[in-house]
Structure formats: C-alpha cells, structure tokens
Symmetry: C2
Subunit: 441 residues, 2 copies
Amino acid sequence: MSEKRVRVGLVGFGTVGTGVAKLICEEGDAIAAKMGVRLELACVVDVDTQKPRPVPLPEGILTSDLNRLVDDRSIDVGIELVGGTGIAREIQLRMLRAGKDVVTANKALLAVHGGELFRVARENGRCIAFEASCAGGIPIISALRAGLAANRITAMYGIVNGTCNYILSSMSSKDEAFASALAKAQKRGFAEADPTLDISGGDSAHKLAILASIAFGYEIALEDVYVQGLDGIARDDIRYGREMGYRLKLLAIAQRNPEGRISLRVHPSFIAADSSLARVDGSFNAISVFGNAVGEIFYYGRGAGMMPTASAVVADLIEVALGNSRTTFAHLQLRPREEAGPLIEQIDDSVSRFYVRVMAKDKPGVVARYSTILADHQISISGALQHEGTGPSNTVPVVITTHKTQERNMAAALAELPRLDVISGKPVCIRIVDIPQDKDT
Amino acid sequence: MSEKRVRVGLVGFGTVGTGVAKLICEEGDAIAAKMGVRLELACVVDVDTQKPRPVPLPEGILTSDLNRLVDDRSIDVGIELVGGTGIAREIQLRMLRAGKDVVTANKALLAVHGGELFRVARENGRCIAFEASCAGGIPIISALRAGLAANRITAMYGIVNGTCNYILSSMSSKDEAFASALAKAQKRGFAEADPTLDISGGDSAHKLAILASIAFGYEIALEDVYVQGLDGIARDDIRYGREMGYRLKLLAIAQRNPEGRISLRVHPSFIAADSSLARVDGSFNAISVFGNAVGEIFYYGRGAGMMPTASAVVADLIEVALGNSRTTFAHLQLRPREEAGPLIEQIDDSVSRFYVRVMAKDKPGVVARYSTILADHQISISGALQHEGTGPSNTVPVVITTHKTQERNMAAALAELPRLDVISGKPVCIRIVDIPQDKDT
C-alpha cells in the first residue's frame, strides 16, 4: 500500500498538454488514493509561455528552456507532446539520454523513427510509453501488449482517424459533398486547418504501423503500409453503396494469414451495414481485434481531443511510475525490419472484393461488353445496381460488386474499361472488406 | 530483450484449465518470442487424473496431490480454476502462504472472500491476478486498473453473464418462452445443468462487486449489490418493450454520483434499441465504461468459454511473470468496506424510469383509476401501449412507461394497484435504464 512519488516534465503545452497538466493537477489526489502513485508536475516546457491556458500551473514551472527539464535529475519522466518528426525526435532522444522514461502521443515520430528511439531507450535502460499515440482514449496498445498477449493476433480492423470518420459520416448520413463535410469538420474542431495528413490516410498509416508492430511482434516500417486516402470519394458512391447494404469507412487493416504473410493497408472500405464498425459515427474511433484464443474483441471510444488523449498519456504515466512500462518495454521483442519486410504482402497480390462504378452511355450492349472485360480477367460479379433514367451527358451510373479477386486482376480490368466507347470517364473502384463476424455457433 | 522463465502450477483441469494448458503448451514459443516470457507448465492438479483431455501434457506433471504444487519451491505461480467458495479458498491461501503468486478466474470466491485473500497475498508479498474473473476474454480489469487509471469512473453498464444474454436474445429475437430458451441454452452449452447462479443474477453480482471495487477504489461486499434475476420475465413484456423501442438485458450497473454515492445493481433492464449494449446478442459480453476524462469506452467480446477465458488467464500469467501484477497489486489502494458501506445507495432511494404492465378488465374507467394511483405517488407517465382486443379472462394488457421516479414511489404504487377491482393479478414492473450516449457535440 506504499505511495510512490514520481516527478514529471512535460514538453508541449498545447491542447493535449493542457489536458495532461489538468489531470495531474486536479486528479492527482484521486490517482494517488486509488493507484498508490503520486504524480508531481515539476516542469512544463513550451515556446509560448505567455498564452493563457485554462489550467493554473504551480508557480515557476512553465519555461521555454528545455534544458531545465533535461538537466533536472529529479525529474523521472518526460512527456513529449510537441508532435511531428523534427524537433520532437531531438527532445525524446535528449530526455532518454538524460535517463528519463518517455511518454508520448507522437504517432508520426514513432512510425518513422521508432526503431532508433526504441534502441536509444534500451541502451539507456529506459522505456517509451505511447498508449496515446493510437486511438486516443481507447487503451488499445495495453490491450495488445497485455490483455491479449496470450493470443496470436490474426487481424485488426480499425477506424483510427476521427477526422476522416467524421467526414464520411456526414457524407453518408446527410448526403453531403466531401468539401462541405470537410469544412464543417474544420469549423467544429474535428479537422485541422491543414487536413492533409488525415485525409491522405497518412495519420491512419502511422497508427497502423505502431499497432501492427505490437500485435505481430515485428518492427514495421511506414513503407510496409499501403495507403489510399479519401481523395476522389464521391457522395454518389457512398449512396449507391448504402443501397447495396454497405457503409464507407476509412479502415486501417492488419491481417496475418496462417503462412505468416502480413497485409497492412489503409484505404476507403465498404463494410456491411450491420457490422460493429459500420455503426461508428462522427469523430469516434473503434477497433476490432481478432485473436486465435479470444475470438473478436471490439473497442469503441474517443480517438482524439484534449481529455481523452490526456487520459491515455496519464495512464501511461502511472504505468511508468509503477515501473511496469519499463519491465514490459525491456521484455518486448520486436523482430527486426529485415525479417518483416519479406513477409509483407504487396497490394497487387492481395485478394479483395470490389465495388466498381462506371458511367455508361445509355445504349445497347453496355453491360455485355463491360462484363466481358471483367470475365476476361477472372472477375466474377456478385451484385449490380443500375437506376433507370440518365445522368449527365446522357450517361447512367452502372455499379457492380465482385466476388473475391486479386488486386492485379482488378487493376488490369480497370485499365481496359475506359477503352470501351460505351463508357465515359474513369471507373470508380472501392474495396469491399468482409469483416469476419464472431457469433455463437 | 531478456527472456524470463516462470514455472506455473495449475489446479483444476476442467474446461478452462484445459484451455490454459493448451495455450501454454502450444503458444509458449510465440509468447516467448513476442513478450520475452517463457511459461513452463510444471504441475497440473485435478481430482480426476484419468479422464482424457484434448491436450497432451508433459510426462508426469498431472497429479491429484496438491502438495506437489504447494511444496515445489521452483513453482512461481499457481492458477486456481477449481471454482466455488469452498476448497478453492483453501487452495489459494495455501499457494499464497507458500510464496506463490495466484492467478484465478474465480469471481464467486473473490466477491465473497476477496478481502481475506488480498490481505494474505499482501502479507506474503504476493499478488492475486483475476482478469479472467470478469467478462472472460475482454481485458476489462486491466483496462480499469491501467488504461483508464487517470479517470474517475462515473458509471459502468455491463452485460457480464452470457447465459442470461443468450436466453434474453432468444426470447427477444425468436419470441421464445423462458423455459424453452433456457433449454436451448443448456443443449448448446451456453448454460449449466444447474443454471441458478446465472439466472438469479448472482454471477453478475459477483463480477460487479469485483469491477466496482477496482473502478471506485473501495472494498465492495456482495451484499452492497442489489440483485434481481430473470425469474418471472415473460416474452410478452419483451415484445411490448420492443414495440416501444427497448431491448431487455440483464445489466450489471455501477454508478457513482458527484456526491460520492455509489449505486450497484443487477437487474433486468429495458435499454434503448439503438444503444451499443442493446446490439449485444447471444452469449457475448460487453461493458460501457464512462470516465470523466475519456468519456465512454465500449468493450465487446466473448465472456466465457474455454479459449477466451484461458486467454485472460494466460494474459495474467504473463503480467505476473513480468512482475507487473505484483507491483500493481502492491500499489492498489482499496479503501475499507467500512468506508464504502455508508456510501452505497439503497435500492429504495434510487431513481429510475419504469415499464409497468397490468392486466386490466376491459371496462370503462380503467385508465383513469390506474393513472390516478400513479399520480398520487408522483409518478408521471411518459408512454403507453394498449393493443385492441382482449386477452385471457377478458383482460387486456395495458403498458405504461414512466418518467424518472424514486423506487419507493413505484413500490408504493405497485402495492396499491392490485387493489383496483379493474386490474387482474400482479402488475409487472421492469426498470428502464437510460444509458448516456457519448456523441460529438
């Protein structure tokens, strides 16, 4: 029942940093009473020491001088909430080399420089804790590292970017266009002024690389993840997909087949409307994890925001303070990237179902010629949708869904389709992901 | 990157015990490769050493002699999977006093004798790990202890008994009677031959006492939990509730209001059909946890069965082996039962909405007299349902739902209702639980 005191330094006093300071200051007593750990905020470093923040700090601890944190031997743990892959890397390295454990929410940095940072942490007998880097308040990293540790993880399907999910939800439920859904997300604080990293799928890829490395036990590089973002997604396709029983989500997918091949992909995905992930609306995150012993475990919660992310940072802080994070980190075995590389399935080799829409000129023979090309590439049609009436330039949208086929077959067919004189413009192709349903047998 | 070797003794070679032995034997290499922990099954104790089990054990480790485990100083951890509150208590005490950490799935024992066992564990510098005791494969204990540790938990709503949920799902989706749904559950292995502990709500209460003690940081006694089981639940009420937009679930509910009062209840609950918990079908478990920082986190997965429960046992084993469980256990502060007791809200004081069905004789004045009694007790009607036509003995079911009211008001009204000569038999009353919805604002 002993109480342990741990001194904490925080770098980055923005939104999440403010939430972390708030939790440490306001909930410190409650945390000590319940967990037996007393967190002391010793130092807060930010370039801007003047801006008023909605949390009163103890006198004299706010500074713009990182050295005050790094050189203070009484500080046990450093939190890096600066973000990005530049100065943040320097900050983490300096803190580790000064003998401090590191807590961070920086997915981009871990996805790009995780190998180096982990190595330096180990060399210095310290740890890096990063629960807050993936899916905000959902404790998914600790679930993969501890709660599900007895399992071989066979697959994960995640909605891990709240911005994209907010936009897709608006487009789907309110039949909004992409641009207006994005504008609304920005206005309401669910998208950055520059949303590129979110919309491109890059942020989801960072998180997937981290989650997959913990789940599969390999160093995963960002370039191992196939990424396609929301560019070019039209509300018409979301609507046609809905009519066929699907919802469109930007999924981060990690699969490991029995032979050990690993597929890592971020892309827009049509999923069955009655699946758990299809019901995740707005800025929320959710992850379905499949383990060989446990079956499916589904997690849902807030993936971003001041307090949910701060909740994950402070949870890490408590585990670091207890000493658990250092033990887990020391024992965590990640096989080197050179071993993982050859196991990664290339996107061309992957097998999927597809939604394909073409704009067909409304004349005889369209369907016959269209389906001949698909058949020539061993693609079998599983469903079709064509509304009566004509669209722009006297064309009609013809939608088909396919049975499973290799990506390379679909790519070849898609390259051929525009050559048909009965088809106008470029076909739209969106992957359909059949998430396994774990049910009573 | 060191590999730690830990020797494990297992008591209870039934369904879950077999799953645990299977995971240790078959997944030991994978666990060592990923987690840096080598689990060695040193000894398996069971009264029946002859029955064939679907897992081949190493030569000579199966025994009926508990002393072989207790006296073997090379064994670091003992797993108790005997169950019940009798001999299992002796087994855990002997293992703790022999200097072994304990891993268990025994919710009944922890709910009844947790205080004593925790004390003995602490006296001996050992820990008890019990992830498998609640919600099977869902790592909810570690979520409450670590992932959500920075939060004040304000409420939990759980479906934590797969047997009851299987029965209610069958009654709801197939309009089955209770008895036939139970028989089917037994036939398919989702209910015990003697299902009393499940059906009565007792098993859910055991789990709630454990979850609430971790979430709120108090020793919670079983008698602090109000329990009502599935006795007397009729499919008619499930159907009428459905028509009014509700699904019936046996919920385990823990709430802490801002003044610190704690409400702990297990009872049949009508919940909104579009809530996450309403969509949990069959033998699955799910828990919605609300924290002041994180908002809502929802967990879903298998709550029982050989491999899901074994997954939780072995996850604990790994954390015990790493030393993390002992650290967390040593720091875990549970305020004594004497402090918790006065905070527990009595069921009479609790506030709820209600579904009430009476069988009314089909004559003038029924609704007027019925609603007068409710009004006399300050109960306000929020909805009503009365189908045309008459039922048995010339009566019709009249269903109303109420706004929030204290239980004591409802109890008083229910006592008065049968005195009306226009009402036949005893009224049926089921609580309506409005689970908060965490949404984008």
